[in-house]
């Protein structure tokens, strides 16, 4: 591969990996579980800090866990990735708001977290094969006027 072709491949890989991680965040807020599933390899394993396991287990727990919230916002920020051939690792910051409405009032559960992803190139494109979630901080913000 020429230098220019290698550079173009790197640009394409970095862009595709960023798109993948972003697509996950969009899909999870829309509760589009089919789209969420396609972000991962079938044999993916995850540790979501609050729960962990193989892909079917974790997806089921995410779906059930998020069902209690009126809405969720996974705002994706900092994203860095290292590509090594057909595998890659990525670290992505997310600011997550989970709006909870109870008879006692309305509150936002806010978490600042990082997705640490091990990715692999597949015939269908880049996929997450290993995900670790590190929760850096959490806070419950009361919401007035909602």
């Amino acid at each position: 591969m020429s230098d220019d072709a290698a550079l173009l491949r790197w640009v394409a890989d970095r862009t595709a990996i960023r798109d993948l991680v972003t697509r996950y965040a969009v899909a999870v807020d829309r509760k589009d579980w089919t789209a969420v599933r396609t972000c991962f390899t079938e044999d993916a394993t995850c540790d979501y800090a609050w729960f962990q396991g193989d892909l079917p287990t974790v997806l089921g727990l995410i779906e059930r866990g998020l069902a209690q919230f009126e809405s969720t916002t996974h705002l994706v920020g900092n994203h860095l990735a290292d590509v090594a051939g057909d595998t890659a690792s990525a670290e992505t910051y997310a600011l997550c708001h989970h709006r909870l409405r109870t008879p006692a009032g309305v509150a936002d559960r806010v978490a600042g977290l990082r997705y640490l992803d091990g990715l692999v190139r597949t015939p269908e494109g880049w996929r997450i094969r290993r995900r670790d979630v590190v929760v850096d901080w959490e806070r419950v913000d009361p919401v007035e006027g909602a």
């Binding site: 220019d4 550079l7 173009l8 790197w10 640009v11 970095r14 705002l75 920020g77 900092n78 994203h79 860095l80 670290e91 910051y93 600011l95 600042g112 850096d136 901080w137 806070r139």
Partner: protein, 134 residues
Amino acid sequence: MTTGRLADAIAVRDVVLGYARAVDRQDLDAVARCFTADCAYEGSLASGTITDALATLRTALPRYTRTMHFMGTQDVTLDRDTAQAITYCVAFHVRTDGRHVTVAVRYLDTLARTPAGWRIGRRVVRTDWVRAHP
């Protein structure tokens, strides 16, 4: 846009995001590697050079159990071997006493292509707001 310019745009963003990763890991050596050795620095940490800012950072970081420099809006303008980057950051700080403090800043960076890769050669930090949470 040529492939080289696309790659430069990613590499410039990586340096600014690398700063956030380094400071959030409290890895001051990695912080230093984001800058040229003589980087001019103006902001709340110091008014001088990156060496002054690092000294302040070294004493400031132990006040926090965790920081998260969450970066969003980024405007990068490339010249051949220099670049301008404006980066918005909402920095979440968890103090050792458990209190949360949120600070919104803009990093106004001038970067230079060096033999070791892109480095920040001049940084101005503007603080837009600070909020201490109850």
